[in-house]
Symmetry: C2
């Protein structure tokens, strides 16, 4: 079968399965999640064998060490998948919940019912565990899923896909509810993101290049985040010990995550007091500093920052530092150079905190907390499928709720419009 | 200045105004709404004069009577604009509201703050009152707006735009918060919908042709509805008097609205009892009936329905009628042929009602009420900017809330991530 027919058939099957899944009760969805976990546990050996195939092909193709590490399935990684499935089974089912049901003057009652989006396409790179993470969240939220992993993980993902199919069948749910594409052809992605008749939303997970390419090609809506250029602003009224510990944590706890601090803004009123010690601690931790002129007067170790540094997501041990004249300039800098991901103020001044919360146009805004908290688990969502820096629909960490929509329900006793 | 520079300059000014508007308090926004109303009241004569210009140009160009009627400004229509502004000023301000603020195990508190989307582009046809309706909702929800009315209403919209500018200035808000495009060039629409750097969302209001064209050209997200192919399903357990009055109201109260009934589904268990009398009442009201074979056995007046009738939004005195074997077939028919707008069941059976609510995939689903209730005012939204049949972001009637987004706010006392 040619690629276009294959994708059309996959889409059509997903659309049909979505209607059945939308009507499935919580018990059936949880049973499927647990049956998938059981199937994975029973198939450990074949999962590891399939992954070994991918790994040896990856070695042959000369994939780099970081990519090979992400590609590898190990016993603890399989255990983590099983735990993830059990966790998602334990989350409350958002589907069918009716909120805000109120009587209107006409006598009708109007409320909003949470419903699945329909069919979700997930496009991701090497980690095979994403197959289970994404599938479980989509299933629990009543959506059918089409999964497209990296070609380097094809054998692993196919093996996982067989376990998923077994779990769905055992729970009496249609196998097309979760489909793992079995072609390495890159053109499949192009088809997937241009089938609005079969796919309601695309969630890409991967590097910026992948996400930009998908967004520019897609005719289906995309839930995405591109950059995480996060800021901490140490305000004039900051507790300086707190400012130091938040800055160190936000920058150095993990370098490669999207909620890692990339530019530190320091109020000129406290720069002389806080910057030398804080800079020393950062340098000791191995961080390279790139500073504005005022910063460099206070911190000998800082090299000059270029204009481009304010836009940069380093994803590594580098930090841009700028001294600002006050709250106004800090907000302006963040809204101009930032990526609308996560930004924090350290301050004891209530009015400054409230203004920062309101005026910084980012998906997460924080007072006196590390940007590293921007995460579905830390926010109590139970799990996340990604972080959205879009404004429409889902914004910030996206959990089950972000994979749903609300429709209006009207309950009457025969009312007609006057 | 050429068109592209003009649109870029308009977009840039809107983006800058949006930041100021997002920070504006409720008092300033309400003061502007009331000051715009005062300016319109003071400028009645010049509004009518400008509209007379548009009307005489319209007559010359041979516009049809329906379009000329929509284009005309009259004293009562100006009064309605003033009332609309006062009503929107009276609505609660959604911006800044923080919901679901909860402590997490780490000690941080996480909540969600409602914020404006940013810049909203509104594209509409002849009615000049849309200029005020749309501007007032966008202003109250803290968004900057770029308004693009029909070229036939250019003079009227410019006159209204001058009143808006005066009202904004009096309240100390930037005039670029609401900009009315002053070019009749159709290419301006093409530019507006392809400026994602300056425009966050487009709301088109008008015929299906306009909306389809905009959706296919836009790189900015569009909140839209295309069709209103609405259904009433008279179930086996329906109260048949209620079924008759709901059907008559949904079909005949107004023919041209998007929430008007277009296809009636009747359960075969009650078809013989309900259809003949109901059909007679519809025919008396002037409605042409197009029926399936079973319908035509019961209703002599019905002409044969073609497959295409099930997809049709007649927007006139025509109704398609189909006898179905039960709830399952009714839901299947609606999800297959409908437009995901508004669909109702008439039944006394609780389980059937619940299943219909859950499984019909439309923006409004109703039990024992007329589809004509699908409307922002009837739903208690205070006002509406349109009805969305999309699933992402806003679904159903879109009021102030649909023009906003929610960002995460995190309140800590120095917490860092472990």
């Amino acid at each position: 079968m040619d690629l276009i027919s294959y994708m059309q058939q996959t889409g059509k099957a997903a659309r049909e399965a979505a209607a059945r899944l939308a009507a499935a009760d919580t018990g059936a969805k949880n049973a499927a999640l647990l049956a998938i976990a059981e199937a994975l546990a029973a198939e450990r050996a074949s999962l590891l064998a399939a992954n070994a195939e991918d790994m040896s092909r990856g070695h042959e193709r000369g994939l780099d060490a970081a990519l090979l590490d992400r590609l590898e399935l190990t016993a603890p990684r399989i255990d983590a998948m099983l735990e993830g499935l059990e966790q998602v089974a334990g989350l409350p089912d958002p589907i069918g919940q009716i909120d805000d049901l109120r009587y209107m003057p006409s006598g009708i009652r109007v409320g909003r019912m949470r419903v699945p989006l329909g069919v979700i396409g997930i496009i991701y790179e090497s980690r095979p565990n994403v197959t289970i993470d994404a599938a479980s969240l989509c299933l629990k939220s009543g959506n059918a899923t089409i999964l497209r992993g990296g070609s380097e993980a094809l054998a692993s993902n196919q093996a996982i896909g067989r376990c998923i199919a077994r779990g769905l069948a055992e729970a009496g749910l249609p196998e097309a509810a979760i489909q793992v594409l079995d072609t390495p052809d890159r053109a499949a992605v192009g088809e997937l993101v241009r089938m609005p008749e079969y796919v309601d939303v695309i969630v890409p997970r991967g590097g910026k290049g992948l996400i930009e390419r998908i967004s520019s090609e897609a005719t289906v809506p995309v839930i995405k985040h591109l950059d995480g250029n996060c800021h901490v602003y140490i305000a004039a009224e900051a507790d300086l010990d707190m400012a130091q510990s938040i800055t160190l944590n936000a920058k150095t706890q993990r370098y490669g995550t999207c909620n890692t601090l990339e530019t530190l803004l320091v109020d000129s009123a406290v720069a002389a007091e806080v910057l030398p010690g804080l800079a020393a601690a950062l340098v000791t931790a191995g961080v390279e500093l790139r500073g504005c002129e005022q910063t460099r007067e206070l911190v000998e170790a800082a090299v000059p920052a270029e204009e481009s540094d304010w836009y940069e997501e380093y994803l590594g041990p580098v930090l841009a530092v700028r001294v600002v004249s006050g709250l106004e300039e800090a907000i302006h800098h963040i809204n101009r150079y930032g990526s609308k991901h996560t930004d924090a103020i350290v301050t004891r001044d209530h009015a400054a905190a409230m203004r920062f919360l309101r005026e910084v146009d980012s998906s997460s805004v924080m007072v006196n907390a590390s940007t590293r908290f921007a995460d579905g688990f830390e926010y109590g969502l139970g799990a996340e499928i990604g972080i959205s820096t879009d404004k429409l629909h889902a914004r910030g960490p996206v959990g089950l709720e972000g994979l749903t929509s609300r429709k209006y329900v009207v309950l009457g006793e025969g009312q007609t419009r006057q």
